[in-house]
Amino acid sequence: MILYDYILSPSCYKVRLLASLLGAPLDLRPVDFHPGREHKAAELLALNPAGSIPILVDGDLVLTESAAILAYLAAQKGGYWLAGDAPAAIARHQQWLDFSHRLTQALGGARLVEMLHFEGDLAALQTRGVAALRELEAALFVQRLGGQSYLIRDTPSIADIACFPYVALAPDGSIPLDPYPSIRIWMRAIRALPGFIEMPGIHRRHDLAPDPFAEVPS
């Protein structure tokens, strides 16, 4: 499986992250997104006329849209990361996958303006980003009241993976995460999953690695 990838793209990172959590190998094909804008050049437009990455190529199958790619990887590995059969779970799962596009547009948009000189109305993107974060915070609070650590149940699903990167990188677009305790607890849980990998701007949990100075007095 070939992933057309960019190291700074949160949408590509979703795919790399899930593949790592699943133990599924990927062949990475780096795309010169910035400064080269290779995703808008002929070769990539032939694969994805929308001009966005990630793109996953598996034999004859060409997939675009990160949520679709996550579903494909998860289904290949037994479906543990999918919604299951209950109608309500299927619907809520889909609801969060749809919600993830709002995160991409608002938080991702603010990040591209603030970090890589893209054009956009920063204040409007930030306002929409804060609204989305508040919605997520409230939902995760409700989940925790019901004893559940993730978006649709007590174990992670691809809905969590679809939402996590742009949320974690909100500060790149000057949107602080300090006001959202339930989001921070949720992100800590995701960062502790076996097989978790980081991307620039999202630190690994150093506290989970063995202490190189075990003798440090307290």
Partner: protein, 159 residues
């Protein structure tokens, strides 16, 4: 560097930047770049006095001469940040002041709001509810708190 980006290992807080480790008293315990060095006592991250009460963490610039007020039978439920002034939030919840908290009816229940206006246009509001409050009540209070925030912030935009 903000230590909130760091991590806790054992009884020390490590800075994410260079891994300097600080004990609970704020003193530097380890500088990884110089593993053999015993950090001089003068290196400290300047800890603030803190206290825990009703599921809430309190901090002060200088050690106060009293402990935070304990509200018997109450426990913190959740916190939200409201983009407004403390005064605007207090007006909105029409609560009677009780030992630093605002007594407010939310979602049909008695609650106490404690606030920290940490910036001119940002208030951290922690809602305390009866320890015995069932889940349905907690949900109703949380929803009402969100509505309160919408109200206060709408005034701000109208003004």
């Amino acid at each position: 560097m903000r230590l909130s980006h760091g991590f806790v290992r054992g009884e020390t807080l490590s800075c994410i930047y260079h891994g300097w480790r600080f004990g609970a008293d704020g003193a530097c315990r380890k500088i990884p770049a110089h593993p053999a060095l015993v950090p001089p006592r003068t290196i400290s991250c300047g800890p603030l006095p803190v206290a825990e009460c009703n599921g809430t963490v309190w901090a002060a610039a200088k050690r106060p001469d009293h402990e935070p007020v304990a509200y018997d039978g109450y426990m913190a439920l959740r916190s939200v940040v409201i983009a407004a002034s403390c005064a605007a939030v207090e007006t909105a919840c029409q609560g009677a002041r009780a030992h630093g908290a605002s007594k407010t009816r939310l979602g049909g229940h008695d609650t106490l709001l404690v606030m920290n206006g940490y910036a001119p246009n940002a208030v951290l509001v922690i809602v305390l509810v009866a320890e015995t409050m069932p889940v349905a009540g907690r949900l109703a209070i949380s929803t009402a708190l969100e509505a309160l925030r919408r109200t206060v912030e709408t005034w701000g935009r109208a003004a």
